[in-house]
């Protein structure tokens, strides 16, 4: 499924309106110092800047209701209440515009766990099904980008329905739009766009190649195939993990900014003091928090931040790939690096853990 259309720069807002008929569009918008995904009004000119946050919250909301509970007095036994559960959810057809390949690939990392694991997550599945992902290929390499280490890349289409590549300059600026999925094809067809001619398609390829070259020049791609085993070898190297986590504040910014972090908590809330109505919520959680694995008994298998950071890096670069055909659950978007208040750098941890040296046991 692949055909190319062309959107002139001045036509982008209209094309988006047409693509998003019947859907809420989430697009980057500047709010204070951050660029975030917000519902876009019809005709609104979308921001093309790379967002500070990934758009994962559109499909995996920061907090969502799993069900409501409603207690009612039992008419046959007034001393007791019955309970009704309501698992109705509002899911609107949506379109995400302007996420980058690293963002879209995040959904693929989720899909492997939430859709294709032993249990299908019905909430995620319904939103994923209802959401079209229109991704913007990168034409610049950010200083903390390392997507080319992780199997992702500046024009990677994994997880996207449509990929837009910015081409041309000035009056000739526009986008080559390629359908990645059948659904993306249908959405693109609906926008009545001209086909992208060979010259423009070539220009898009050139943008991909130039961005890839810029990334390679910035940091040569690493071979991470040995990393899963190396991280396991490092597991008991407490000095290494202490050293790596020395600066860490356990604030969790890295997890909330990550397009692939999918851990959550389940909590209950009451509407009022009488406990007659309330809801069970699923909310993003953060493996860097000391409470994440703390048991009611007080026992905590990951008491110290070194152990928590070890699990975070281990999960992304060792455990997940071992369970998912070598796929790394990090897309190299670099947001955890830019967003970290003390500049903990996951690249450094991965590189140092992967490099065999005399301190590495069993290496």
């Amino acid at each position: 499924m692949s055909f190319a259309r062309y959107i002139a720069r001045g036509e982008l807002a209209r094309a988006l309106d047409d693509m998003a008929r019947g859907r809420v569009t989430y697009a980057p918008r500047r709010e204070g110092d951050a660029v975030v995904f917000r519902p876009r009004a019809e005709g609104e000119e979308p921001l093309l800047a790379r967002a500070t946050v990934p758009p994962k919250g559109v499909i995996f909301p920061q907090s969502e209701r799993l069900f409501a509970f409603i207690r009612e007095k039992d008419p046959n036994d007034p001393g007791h209440t019955t309970v009704r559960l309501d698992s109705t959810v509002d899911i609107e057809p949506a379109l995400i515009f302007g996420g980058r390949p690293c963002d879209a690939r995040g959904f693929h990392i989720f899909d492997r766990v939430y859709l294709n694991g032993p249990h299908r997550d019905p909430y995620y599945a319904a939103r994923r099904e209802a959401t079209v992902v229109v991704t913007l290929a990168c034409n610049k390499a950010g200083s903390t980008c390392f997507c080319h280490w992780t199997g992702c890349g500046p024009a990677d289409t994994t997880g996207s329905d449509i990929l837009l590549t910015p081409v041309g300059e000035g009056a000739d600026a526009g986008f080559v739009a390629v359908a990645v999925t059948e659904r993306g094809g249908a959405v693109l067809e609906a926008a009545n766009l001209p086909e992208a001619d060979a010259a423009r398609s070539d220009a898009a390829q050139a943008v991909h190649a130039a961005t890839q070259a810029a990334l390679d020049a910035q940091s040569p791609a690493r071979d991470l195939s040995a990393t899963p085993a190396r991280l396991l070898e490092r597991f008991s190297d407490s000095d290494f993990w202490r050293d790596m986590s020395d600066k860490c504040l356990s604030c969790g910014a890295c997890t909330y900014l990550c397009p692939t972090c999918y851990c959550f908590n389940i909590t209950d809330e009451n509407d009022g003091g009488d406990g007659m109505r309330g809801r069970r919520l699923r909310s993003w959680d953060n493996c860097m928090s000391s409470l994440f694995t703390r048991e009611a008994s007080g026992h905590n298998p990951r008491m110290g931040k070194a152990l928590r950071l070890r699990n975070r890096v281990g999960h992304k670069f060792s455990y997940y790939p071992q369970l998912h055909e070598g796929v790394v659950s990090c897309n190299g978007c670099g947001r955890c690096i830019t967003g970290c208040p003390v500049s903990v750098d996951i690249r450094e941890m991965v590189v140092r853990a992967t490099e065999a040296n005399e301190e590495t046991p069993n290496a």
Binding site: V24, E31, A34, V36, P39, T52, V53, G57, V58, P61, Q62, L66, F67, F69, D77, G79, H80, V83, L85, S87, T88, V89, D90, I91, E92, V113, Y114, G117, P118, H119, D121, P122, Y123, R127, L232, F235, S236, A253, Y262, C263, F264, N265, I266, T267, D268, N270, G275, G278, R280, F292, T293, E295, A296, S297, P301, L307, G314, H315, S318, Y319
Partner: protein
Amino acid sequence: MPDAITPQAGAHATTLGTGFTDNPYLPDVATVLETVQETPTIKTLRVRIDDPARMESFRFNPGQVGQLSLFGVGESTFVINSPPTRMDYLQFSIMRAGEVTAALHGLKPGDKVGVRAPLGNWFPFEDMRGKDIVFVGGGIGMAPLRTLLLYMLDNRADYGNITLLYGARTPSDMAFRDDVQEWLGRSDMQTTLTVDQAPEDWPHRAGLIPHVLLDLAPSNANSVAVLCGPPIMIKFTVEALKKLHFADEQIITTLERRMKCGIGICGRCNIGTKYVCMDGPVFTYAELRDLPNEL
């Protein structure tokens, strides 16, 4: 931090499937039939799922767990400690430790709870047929052993000698008193009780479980040891079993972890690549030995 993306509510209400297979987060509503105050800190709840067809078709294996919840307070994970051979009710025994367990302790017959079950794996009771079984339980760790022990007693001819060593801090910390009395009186199993601190009129053993186990010295020939208890007890009981020449493959235990989803998604109960809620809670010591050391 930028604030949340809130998908706007619209007129697209979707009712996600009910019943465990469609929506693994939606519990079955169940009713508390009876409660038993086992010890000052352990309370047993016997519950039945309200939907008769669901209760009728409910199947589980010894060692599987469930998420038991009190709506408005939260969920916690407990083993179903009644055996699958006795399906009048599902039994959970709860040690009061945190908010949810304290609230569950306040329940009375007729109160409603949520049950998401069965979750996780189970004791390899089929592979254990024809073998001698050595049960070693400490405190609330007797709960997972109870389901397997009762299952075996209900299928007594399938198993060899059955030995139980059950220990607690004091006599009043021993749960399942009626069961224990019955087990002490049975001629087809050997039951030994021990407490850390014995009052003068205590007719059983005194001393830590691993010491008593070494004294009992069960044979490792054609045997499987099943143990459950606090981490420190497990550690020293495994050492005692090693001294008795039990191989790692002959030692089975169940692990505890903080769990939320129970279906391998929420990401907190992993030990390396293994998720305790899906790959466990039952592990052989040989399996644990090969996991990263994060117990």
